[in-house]
């Protein structure tokens, strides 16, 4: 189907090609065809196309009044799907009604917050009781109204929440403004992941992308950006939905159309991804997948629980591997490449 790219791609990934220049491959490996062919042309045209994009980006960066929203529609390397944005725009004021349209996300906190917390606590040696995540910098991608950012902030972490829908950020900011402790710990920005990639390279200890990857335009790009923004050995937490018949029946037909647990039209089955594929994508982009857990929702009790089966919902924990040595199989590096990726400056010097 999508094609995991096969062993050759995985091998290339291991050897060192990362980010933009991970080598040309068949266009079919791209996910999220809805947003169009952003990825393909950039590589087909080779370095020339690269420099075009690069100079355009430089112009924007120097523009002091960057409007994040406008850029999203015009950039050709976006992970944001405008149709998805519109869906969430309509419900931007409903985030904080615990019994409303987002009730399943509110109750998802009961398992995803302990999952994140315990994974991080197990990795670090000691922690302060009362503030278990203090000192941890977390990026919440697609934070929506801040449903996950707030609990993480309460546990002591410094959270940056980003979301392309401005109304969501507005709702999150307003909610946060009443709590003096959270107001200091959480920052919200109305932008997408690609907008902060340059300024935030290797800044975050943890990235959380919960119930997000099924809404992005280009998943591989998204993962590459995550890689850039994470510190070495940083953690990436993803929760999403599997692409199976069961997930279509229960996750879309029953949940959306019959029971109305989730607002209708929220999910597009085509954009779901199986854990094996996701693991493959992560592996080939410099991540080491540590945990995959299935989750299931009980609509009668309104609560989530961990389960063996990943047929519908599942959670993944992956860690960014240490930077491996570069190999000669990398594309002929152009000047633009080196300048564009300061994170790999150390790696590129070995070329």
């Amino acid at each position: 189907m999508w094609g995991c790219g096969g062993l050759s791609r995985a091998a290339r990934a291991l050897v060192g090609a990362r980010g933009w220049s991970s080598g040309a491959g068949p266009p079919g490996r791209r996910l999220g065809a809805v947003a169009g062919d952003h990825y393909g042309p950039a590589f087909q045209t080779g370095p020339a196309g690269f420099s075009e994009n690069y100079s355009w980006k430089m112009q924007l960066t120097s523009n002091s009044t960057r409007s994040a929203m406008k850029r999203l529609y015009s950039t050709s390397h976006t992970t944001v799907d405008s149709k998805e944005m519109n869906k969430f725009q309509l419900l931007a004021h409903r985030w904080w009604d615990e019994q409303g349209e987002y009730s399943t996300l509110h109750s998802l906190n009961d398992i995803r917050v302990p999952f994140i917390r315990d994974t991080l606590l197990n990795m670090s040696g000691d922690h302060q009781l009362g503030s278990p995540l203090s000192g941890v910098k977390i990026l919440d991608v697609g934070c929506g109204g801040g449903l996950l950012s707030e609990p993480l902030g309460r546990l002591g972490a410094s959270v940056t929440g980003i979301d392309p829908v401005e109304d969501n950020i507005r709702a999150a900011e307003q909610r946060k403004s009443f709590d003096p402790v959270l107001a200091k710990r959480i920052q919200y920005k109305p932008c997408s992941l690609e907008d902060i990639v340059e300024e935030a390279t290797e800044t975050f200890d943890v990235i959380v992308a919960s119930e997000v990857v099924e809404h992005v335009a280009d998943l591989e790009m998204f993962i590459k950006y995550c890689y850039q923004v994470l510190k070495t050995e940083g953690s990436l937490f993803i929760t999403t939905i599997n692409k199976t018949q069961l997930s279509y029946i229960l996750g879309i037909v029953v949940a959306e159309r019959i029971m109305g647990i989730v607002p209708e039209g929220t999910h597009d089955w085509e954009k779901f991804i199986s854990p094996e594929e996701l693991e493959c994508l992560l592996d080939s982009n410099g991540f080491l997948v540590k945990t995959v857990n299935g989750m299931s929702y009980n609509p009668l009790s309104g609560s989530w629980s961990w389960t063996e089966s990943t047929s519908i919902n599942y959670a993944v924990h992956a860690m960014k591997c240490r930077v491996k040595e570069q190999s000669s199989s990398r594309e002929p590096p152009s000047e633009t490449d080196k300048e564009e990726h300061p994170a790999e400056a150390s790696a590129s010097t070995t070329v």
Partner: protein, 475 residues
């Protein structure tokens, strides 16, 4: 919006929605003049009421490991009690503390203070009827303490010490009375503060994410929330006093005799002193209060010793039943002991207070929980009143601690509802049993006397049943 309809129609969620909506009505009832949008301090938890239960709640949260970064406030209308030396004589207000409550108090270090001050453990409880020979004896085979008799002042002193120990997390405001509460609207308009606002008598306004009402049987928090309280005034008042025994004895038994006018109980304070709790009619209580000390002592002794209410019929029926039991269970029943006799009463220690039963239909609302007498009030005949309150504290602290460790919003109704379900299950059964006992023993009509005589004798013979009762009551 079609989406609204589909979610609103989901009947599974409607009980919660109903609960959230009703709170809004209370806003209108308690409207205080609005000031400009207050930017007063925002607390994580405010406990309203600094009695035994309120102070213990604040101390339990303050000592909890997951509350290290939280801000807690305790509001008490009265002045701070200066903890000087203990007075020589015992206070007339005492409580029977169950082992479960003692465990809670020791979990935040208050029990050690109690032990270092003054307390009396008891090993046995003898309960018998005035209208027959039937009795029941509770004791623990393994020589553990069944319970502890502690003066309320001692408990308060221990709690105050432990509150001082966490003064960086728990702020205590004495002489502060709340005059109004404003509940947050639950329709989530983003421009209004989502916290509970409390207006104090001195004009200050506070905000809190969770308000815990521990303000007693006439709880203002409960009234402000518009929660229905089912109350029943018993036609009884309790007379309390501190008594001195005729002779020093190994005073480790709690005695209770059910008279037709109400139960009379003697709780050990030391080897030479005991505390009296006599529930009786209002008129009789007034008489007891006004009579001179000698007559008072005589009345108490005869209440424990006289067989005035016995009738031959009941006595015969009782003894026949007893022989039947001893045939079936040759191991026999524990031997009956005789209660101590009273020599004199501590001067100025007599007091009286009315008795009633009460139960709040709901213990929780969005951002609000009731504990202690604000939620439930019982007859003292089983010595359970404050123990139920401590049980509430243990349960609520457990849920709030878990919520804090999960980064949850402390005022979220989901975990508050779990607390309510757990506690209502326990409290309602206990209250029903106590009320049933009270009514059953308030009569001297033969059929009921016979019923309770046989019932008591049977229960006394069945150790597993007694053990169940003891373990339920000592939670």
């Amino acid at each position: 919006m079609a989406v609204w309809v589909s979610v609103g129609g989901c009947s599974l969620l409607s009980p919660i929605r109903g609960r959230l909506r009703v709170g809004q009505a209370a806003v209108l009832a308690w409207r205080v003049p609005l000031r400009a949008a207050g930017t007063g301090p925002v607390y994580d938890v405010v406990v309203s009421g600094g009695g035994m239960v309120g102070s213990a709640m604040a101390a339990a949260l303050g000592h909890d490991v997951h509350f290290g970064e939280k801000k807690i406030l305790l509001l008490e209308a009265g002045p701070r009690k200066v903890s000087g030396r203990l007075p020589e004589s015992y206070s007339n207000r005492v409580s029977s503390i169950s082992p479960g409550s003692a465990t809670l108090l020791s979990s935040f270090g208050a029990w050690d203070h109690v032990c270092s001050l003054r307390f009396k453990p008891f090993r046995r409880m003898q309960v018998w009827d005035a209208c027959s020979e039937a009795m029941i004896i509770f004791d623990k085979d393994n020589l553990e303490d069944m319970g502890y008799v502690v003066e309320n002042d001692v408990i308060m002193s221990a709690l105050t010490k432990q509150l001082d120990a966490v003064s960086d997390r728990v702020e205590v405001l004495y002489r502060s009375r709340a005059v109004g509460y404003i509940w947050p609207l639950t329709c989530h308009l983003s421009d209004t503060s989502p916290w509970v606002k409390i207006d104090l008598a001195d004009g200050r306004r506070l905000e809190t994410k969770l308000l815990i009402g521990a303000d007693g049987q006439n709880s203002m928090v409960r009234k402000a929330a518009g929660i229905q309280n089912m109350r029943y005034q018993y036609d009884q008042s309790a007379v309390v006093a501190t008594l001195h025994l005729s002779e020093a004895t190994d005073n480790n038994v709690a005695w209770q005799r059910f008279l037709p006018s109400g139960p009379i109980a003697l709780l050990p304070l030391s080897d030479t002193a005991s505390s009296l709790v006599w529930s009786t009619s209002h008129e009789h209580a007034a008489q007891l209060l006004s009579m001179d000390e000698e007559s008072f002592v005589d009345t108490i002794n005869s209440a424990f010793w006289s067989n005035l209410h016995h009738s031959d019929f009941i006595d015969t029926a009782g003894s026949v039943f007893r022989s039947a039991i001893s045939l079936l269970m040759p191991s026999g029943t524990p031997a009956r002991q005789l209660p101590p006799s009273i020599a004199r009463v501590e001067p100025k220690s007599r007091a009286v207070f009315p008795l009633g039963m009460g139960h709040a239909t709901e213990y929780v609302r969005h951002r609000m929980a009731l504990i202690g007498d604000a939620a439930h009030r019982v007859h003292p005949l089983a010595g359970q009143g404050v123990n139920m309150g401590f049980g509430d504290i243990a349960c609520l602290t457990h849920h709030l601690s878990t919520a804090a460790f999960n980064g949850k919003d402390l005022g979220s109704i989901k975990h508050l509802l779990q607390f309510e379900t757990e506690r209502q299950r326990h409290n309602l059964s206990l209250m029903a049993a106590i009320d049933l006992l009270k009514r059953l023993y308030s009569t001297s009509v033969a059929p009921f006397v016979l019923l309770r005589t046989w019932g008591l004798q049977t229960t006394n013979a069945l150790s597993p049943v007694k053990e169940q009762i003891m373990s339920f009551a000592s939670k």
